[in-house]
């Protein structure tokens, strides 16, 4: 077996608490499918037959019991539950399943929606015998206005600095602005080996990693690393150029300093494989070099290599903020070709449904409604004379007649009273909007969540 797929679905969705306080993030509906369906579909399309899914007990229960959550995948899902309150990072989760990992792993995050050609990432991993290979994409500006936010999105988020070499494939440097004190510090040894480095900041990390098995074993010994993206990846990128990884003498010392020495020694050992001398002979006789201009052999004699594939075009979103969620809802339908209107939905003839809207199963759309650029969830009832534009309506929502909903997100099981006028708001789960209310972003009650009692209009 070549690769095992691991899907990380235990995240909490801390940056969109408005949406996730009731529904766990992997089960948020995007285009009327649970969010977890998208990476699973990606893996299935590419040819995987089994996936190890690391998730919480709550999600596992909902997957097995809730009829609205249908996963529709033919692969065998091996669900591994972890405690929700254990605060495990992704690397901790990987350590947890170390026994199940028998070969190299492909780690995917549950909030990834992409149509990337995975073979590009895996080909880099295979061809260069890399330790790490990951996927990144050029970030696109989000064009939709986000409910609950005045004006455009602030760009105060911490930037990621990613340094690649001239070919654009080899990963030389990775750091987050939060970890840097004053400026970007690049070691001279890296500059000597790769005189031309391109540093990019506008990239979205897709959180899709191909890791060698030795890395998983290394994690088992190193309990201090808890996040793949935050700690493991920068560590591996730095280790490419560290002296200890490249010097052959380290192998002799291991027998004495197994416990004492830094764990990068263990990582080094497992990089070498059987038939090492044949591989060495091949490299010696091959007239190929990955760089030119200096006197060193291919890969500068380094054993640890990290590669990245940067997508220029195509869809690649990580649904971890509200803005991304809305954007994903717009674009996700392009990823699958099911009909826009579900066959089991009851749609009356005198309603106007735009071409880019999606109607979920068992919906009831009454007369004289107008639905444009929106997503209507499963089992939603929309009464007469309702205008829904640019919005996301989740499952089980009831919208009484005469409502006007624009640019909003209505979470599951909410009830919108008659004649309500909702513009750019987020209505939380199971909330009730009383009739004839008018709510816009300007009003103080812009994100209507958590309140047990219905709100009064101004």
């Amino acid at each position: 077996m070549e690769l095992q797929a691991v899907l990380m679905a235990a995240g909490g969705g801390s940056r969109m608490m408005d949406l996730t306080y009731n529904t766990p993030k992997p089960l948020l509906p995007v285009g009327n499918k649970p969010l977890i369906w998208y990476p699973l579909n990606l893996l299935e399309r590419v040819g995987f037959e089994e996936v190890i899914v690391i998730t919480t007990k709550e999600v596992q229960k909902m997957i097995s019991t809730d009829p609205k959550v249908k996963l529709d995948v033919k692969m065998k899902l091996d669900l591994v539950c972890i405690q929700e309150d254990a605060d495990m990072g992704t690397a901790d989760a990987l350590r947890h399943i170390q026994q199940k990992v028998k070969t190299d792993v492909l780690v995917v995050s549950c909030d990834l929606i992409t149509d990337a050609a995975l073979h590009e990432v895996v080909d880099l991993f295979r061809a260069h015998n890399a330790t790490l290979s990951m996927l990144m994409s050029k970030a696109h500006e989000f064009t939709e206005t986000v409910p609950g936010q005045k004006g455009k999105k602030k760009t105060g988020e911490q930037r990621d600095f990613v340094g690649v070499d001239d070919t654009g494939k080899r990963l030389l440097f990775m750091a987050n602005e939060a970890d840097l004190d004053e400026g970007v510090v690049i070691r001279k040894s890296i500059m000597r080996k790769h005189p031309r480095m391109h540093i990019k900041t506008g990239l979205v990390d897709a959180h899709l990693y191909c890791l060698k098995k030795s890395v998983v074993d290394f994690l088992a010994d190193n309990k201090s690393i808890s996040s793949i993206r935050g700690e493991l990846v920068p560590y591996l990128v730095r280790k490419q150029f560290s002296k200890s990884t490249n010097s052959p003498k380290v192998i002799d010392e291991t027998h004495q300093n197994l416990k004492k020495n830094d764990s990068n020694v263990n990582l080094e050992i497992q990089i070498s494989s059987r038939d090492e001398e044949l591989l060495h002979l091949t490299q010696e006789r091959s007239c190929w070099n990955d760089h030119r201009g200096d006197m060193s052999d291919a890969y500068h004699g380094g054993r640890l290599r990290c590669y990245v594939h940067i997508m220029d075009e195509g869809i690649c979103y990580r649904v971890n903020t509200l803005a991304a969620y809305i954007e994903a809802n717009r674009l996700a339908p392009k990823l699958f070709d099911e009909p826009a209107v579900h066959p089991s939905a009851v749609v009356s003839e005198r309603c106007l449904i735009g071409a880019d809207s999606i109607i979920g199963a068992s919906c009831q759309i009454s007369d004289k409604t107008s639905i444009k650029r929106s997503t209507i969830g499963v089992s939603t009832t929309v009464r007469e004379k309702v205008k829904v534009t640019n919005s996301i309506i989740m499952h089980g929502v009831t919208i009484e007649e005469g409502c006007n909903i624009q640019g909003s997100v209505i979470c599951s099981n909410a009830v919108i009273g008659r004649g309500a006028d909702i513009k750019y708001c987020l209505v939380g789960s199971a909330q009730r909007i009383e009739p004839d209310g008018e709510h816009t972003t300007a009003s103080p009650h812009l994100a209507i969540t958590h309140s047990p009692t219905p709100l009064y209009s101004n």
Binding site: V46, F48, H119, L281, E284, M295
Partner: protein, 559 residues
């Protein structure tokens, strides 16, 4: 007794000599080229016994072929039609795989009576089918010879006793061999057959890319941006992961060079053998060979196999089939792994050492040595010579688009050898300074031609003009039975987009596909005639180019 028979008009060029053997009362025909060489006839008289048996075998084969042709005519008329154009190819595509013409340019030395007589036989081979008009005496003689062969066949133990040379029967086969599929890409029937075969083996078909220059439209041309892995599932289940990795490394050029490719191939096969388990009710010797076939097709699709790889594969297949059936699986696997290690050690590593030893004798102090491209063997020789404190300097000649000379330059300068670097366009400028030329080879063909990186024949030609000795260094495992006299018949077309170069942000050939009259050609190999090569240094010693068939024959005998 000798009698000249009536020669049919069509065979006027060949004279027949009819001999009557005193003992057997057989009349058999010895076909000689030209006005009957006396030595030939005395020789054939002495070896009369052997020749008669070989004649008998030939006639037996003839009968079989006629029968087969009659059968096939009724069933598959298309394949017949395919075969006839194959056998009657126009001159620019000589039948490369037919062994017969190979012996013609090579001097028919005395201990090779069989291949020498094969060409004489190949011309009448289609003749029984094509030319019904024959002289009565000849027909009678043939019939009598056939009777004798039948009688001889009934006698036990007499058939194989007299044959001196243990040549495998396949060499006597007069039927035209099929052309390999990779040189018939413009024939849709062949492409369809290949597609069917790949579908059966569950391997994706790689599609050709871009406009092909018409002279080379019979070869594949792939694009590096469309790797074969696009169509494979990602945890590859059909093909072993190490083979997928190897195919990727071939197609991206990470493993390049004849020796490197063979070593990498054997390394991957070792992994395959390690991970192999015999399914129930199957024998390892047969099942493993069947398992390897789709892998080889896959590698062929990624990049056409080299001659050295072909020989390595033949060796492995032979080793696998020779495993006795009662051998246990673990034992068989370890045996195979040690065989592979031994092959690499003998044919590649030790051969390189032997070649360096011979070559260093040829390098004297004060020499100026010219090398072309990056040949692992030549680099090895130069580094060893430098370590043995020979004083020489090297001129590295390089050419686009591969620019492999840069890598050779780096390796030599790293050792401390003083080097000069030129492009091939400066060859005639630099040659007056050169004292010898060392060239590496991708393969040595059976007629003495050297197949090597494109540009090598130019170097040899210009060196010959300047009277500079040209020495080709090649291990014996790269000798192959193919015969080629030009670089068109069988070659490799690399990605044409490699020829595009970007200078100051502008790529002139960016839209070359839009220009209908423009074709980009990126050849990989060319053949150098033996007249331009002065010496071939192999692990068996230093031989002239024309002795390659001898080495091949000796190799076949060994096996």
């Amino acid at each position: 007794m000798k009698r000249e028979s009536i020669v049919p008009a069509a065979c006027a060029a060949v004279t027949y000599t009819v001999l009557c053997h005193p003992h057997h009362h057989t009349v058999f025909i010895v076909l000689t080229d030209g006005p009957g060489n006396k030595d030939d006839i005395t020789r054939s008289k002495n070896e009369g016994k052997e020749l008669s048996k070989e004649e008998k075998q030939r006639l037996r084969k003839q009968k079989k072929q006629q029968k087969k042709q009659k059968e096939r005519k009724n069933e598959k008329s298309e394949t017949e039609k395919e075969k006839t154009p194959v056998s009657l190819l126009p001159p620019p595509r000589p039948v490369a795989t037919q062994k017969a013409p190979s012996a013609l340019p090579a001097p028919a030395s005395a201990p090779i009576p069989v291949p020498a007589s094969a060409p004489f036989h190949s011309s009448p081979a289609p003749s029984p089918a094509d030319k019904p008009a024959k002289s009565k005496a000849e027909l009678k003689a043939e019939r009598r010879a056939r009777q004798e062969t039948d009688r001889a066949a009934k006698q036990p133990g007499s058939s194989s006793s007299g044959i001196k040379t243990k040549v495998p029967l396949s060499e006597l086969n007069p039927v035209v061999k099929r052309l390999p599929e990779h040189v018939q890409v413009d024939d849709p029937a062949v492409v369809k057959r290949l597609a069917k075969k790949l579908e059966r083996q569950q391997i994706p078909l790689r599609s050709d890319y871009g406009y092909k220059v018409s002279l080379f439209s019979h070869l594949h041309q792939y694009s590096r941006k469309a790797p074969l892995t696009q169509q494979l599932s990602i945890p590859s289940t059909v093909i072993h992961p190490s083979i997928v990795r190897l195919g990727l490394q071939y197609s991206q050029g990470i493993v390049a060079g004849s020796n490197a490719r063979s070593v990498a191939l054997l390394h991957a096969f070792k992994q395959v053998i390690r991970d192999y388990t015999t399914p129930p009710n199957e024998e390892l010797s047969r099942d493993l060979v069947n398992k390897l076939k789709p892998y080889i097709s896959f590698l062929n699709q990624c990049r056409p196999l080299s001659a050295s790889m072909g020989n390595a594969i033949k060796y492995i297949k032979k080793e696998i089939s020779n495993i006795p059936s009662q051998c246990k699986e673990e034992e068989a696997k370890t045996k195979l792994l040690t065989c592979i290690d031994r092959y690499i050690e003998e044919k590649i590593v030790l051969a390189a050492k032997a070649i360096s030893k011979y070559a260093i004798e040829k390098i004297s102090d004060g020499d100026v040595i010219l090398v072309y491209g990056c040949s692992s063997l030549v680099n090895n020789i130069l580094c060893e010579a430098f370590e043995k404190s020979r004083k020489f300097r090297v001129i590295v000649v390089d050419s686009r688009p591969r620019l492999e000379g840069r890598e050779a330059l780096r390796r030599l300068v790293q050792r401390g050898i003083s080097c000069t670097y030129v492009l091939i366009s400066a060859l005639s400028y630099i040659l007056p300074e050169v004292s010898k030329v060392f060239l590496g080879a991708h393969a040595l063909l059976a007629n003495g031609y050297v197949m090597s990186r494109v540009g090598t024949s130019q170097i040899a030609l210009v060196a010959r003009t300047f009277n500079v000795p040209v020495l080709v260094c090649c291990e014996t495992y790269k000798f192959c039975e193919k015969v080629q006299t030009d670089s068109f018949v069988s070659n490799e077309l690399d990605d044409p987009d490699d020829l595009m170069v970007t200078r100051k942000g502008k790529t002139q050939l960016e839209n070359w596909q839009d220009v209908s009259s423009l074709g980009l050609l990126n050849l990989v190999y060319d053949v150098t005639p033996p007249d331009f090569v002065d010496l071939v240094i192999t692990d068996l010693g230093m031989i002239p180019c024309t002795s390659v068939p001898v080495v091949l024959r000796v190799k076949n005998l060994d096996q």
